[in-house]
Symmetry: C2
Subunit: 336 residues, 2 copies
């Protein structure tokens, strides 16, 4: 059922039936290292180019989410997936063997929220009993695409984030039993506050996160006290500060309830990752390794998951254009 | 209702309430020139970069589809849109002022099919009374991205297509009156037959078109005689020949019922466009200028519209990778 301006509340909430996460070596060395299903020590994932490595990462994660759920690929009606690369090559090549009808998505680092939203809409409407949602990123493919060539003697500013090598995938199904229920969604719109610093993506995304969270509160008639956690994707330290400042102006205190996946995945003191992790694999893998298990156990009963994306392209950036942001909200609930 | 392996048949088919198409000068000089709503003589669309030009093209087309339908932007619940560029910059910057919740899509030149499929699913499920679907391409942004730098003395082979500067947009709504009904959809999957020639995109896409059309026949329990037209996106001359050959092997004669948007938009004898037009703006603009009006008038009662996409990226291509294809089918019917 459509509610408010930009949200849907599902009368029969679809459930997450299976979840899987695979990450690279550096992510395995971070604070959440032991929670991921697989930590792959070879960042090439056995392939001979970085792009093929990211495709292999998607393929392995998709295979794993099926295996963990005891699901055959033929039982998955649709696949909603994306990555950060031009023309979605990690997804194209990574999912060809699945032979599942595919909706290719691009929402920058918000892609997992977009994929779960469309997946839940599809299942709740009865268009399929079971769909897969997936998003990945890889440090080397992303850095090569967005920040190559680097200037000689270049230093990463403290506002920069570190692209996560990782992939998260969930299978969303009809039914009452599962890891968590998808109670509703709030779909974000492009928000452009004129940010122009490609080394400060948090600042570009924070206004979009703010907008989607506020819209969610308005559409569902709730406030920050309704959720046990409000979890953004990869705002990092600076983006988080901006978000909390915006919220303070609205007389909202999000400090205790807010968590950012990008700030959880690395140890900033020992891993030299500056403002935190980023990339669509960041929120996707942290969701599947850390967030969903806590909802399943009932430690958190109600979570607003808000992956955040910065619409950065080297072409538009080099032409002096701004970096708009987008964020998609997914309401996840404990199944009692 | 889900039917067969990859299709949905809508019990209450959503309708296309409004349509708009804007193209560039060359497309205006082609055989369909007089049918487009606007032929813009300035290929820069008043902007100072090609990318901003394509964004302006999307913005103008979105404004026009609303104006033609007498619809305010606030009455559109969701926007499903995409383009060919890395990180969807034409869409990001072109739609920011619409302030409509956005699902960013990437399906190469099949994007209009993907957008209309998700849009129709959304309306039919009651998630919104009205959504917009849109796709664009621009000759200069696409050529710059996919084929720059060109070799010295380079000649375009006859298998090459010409990227259309154009945008098509439809508003899909609940209700019984409108331009055409969306009876159902058949969602394509990645099909990789090992094609490696970036100057022959038709060959890369024809297997995907074949797969989706066959799947549509199987899922809906129909054959080629059911449709008045089966319209592919931008296979061009070579892709069309391959598709018809594949069909002949299945003892199907599609010759009379098949039409390809890429082969209709230019005059190959006078416009030097070789195998035909391509780009997601090709099928999107031909749909809105030529196909939908014929369905509205009842000249064609039942049409299978199948935009076709080649998952080409310069990165994967230069790494020696193949070019997989995808095609999304939309069943359009005359409202009697």
């Amino acid at each position: 059922m459509q509610i408010g301006k930009a949200s849907i509340q599902f009368e029969e909430p679809p459930v997450i039936e299976s979840m899987a996460s695979i990450v690279g070596k550096k992510e395995g060395e971070g604070p959440l290292g032991s929670l991921f299903d697989v930590v792959e020590m070879d960042d090439m994932f056995g392939a001979d180019t970085w792009e093929k490595a990211e495709s292999a990462l998607q393929k392995q994660t998709a295979d794993l989410v099926l295996e963990k759920g005891g699901i055959r690929k033929k039982e998955v009606r649709y696949l909603f997936a994306g990555d950060l690369l031009g023309q979605l090559i990690a997804t194209s090549f990574g999912t060809v063997d699945l032979e599942i009808p595919l909706f290719g998505l691009y929402g920058a680092c918000s892609t997992m929220g977009e994929a779960m939203s469309l997946g839940a809409m599809t299942v709740a409407a009865g268009y399929g009993d079971r769909v897969m949602a997936m998003a990945s990123s890889h440090f080397a493919t992303a850095e090569k695409q967005f920040r190559f060539p680097l200037g000689y003697g270049n230093q990463r500013p403290f506002s920069a984030t570190w692209t996560v090598t990782g992939c998260g995938s969930v299978v969303i199904s009809k039914g009452k039993r599962g890891i968590a229920a998808i109670k509703g969604i709030t779909t974000g719109r492009m928000v452009d506050m004129g940010s122009r610093d490609s080394m400060n993506m948090g600042a570009a995304m924070a206004p979009a996160a703010f907008h989607t969270i506020e819209q969610n509160f308005e559409d569902f008639g709730v406030d920050e006290t309704y959720y046990d956690k409000i979890i953004t994707g990869d705002l990092g330290e600076i983006g988080k500060t901006i978000l909390l400042d915006f919220m303070k102006n609205k007389k909202r205190v999000l400090d205790l309830v807010h968590m950012d996946c990008g700030m959880e995945i690395y140890n900033k003191n020992t891993q030299d990752t500056h403002a935190g992790g980023s990339g669509c694999g960041c929120s996707a893998s942290v969701l599947c390794a850390y967030v969903l298990p806590r909802i399943q156990e009932g430690i958190w009963k109600r979570v607003l998951f808000v992956p955040t994306g910065a619409l950065l392209s080297t072409v538009s950036y080099n032409e002096g254009n701004t970096i708009p942001g987008i964020a998609h909200g997914v309401v996840l609930e404990h199944i009692g």
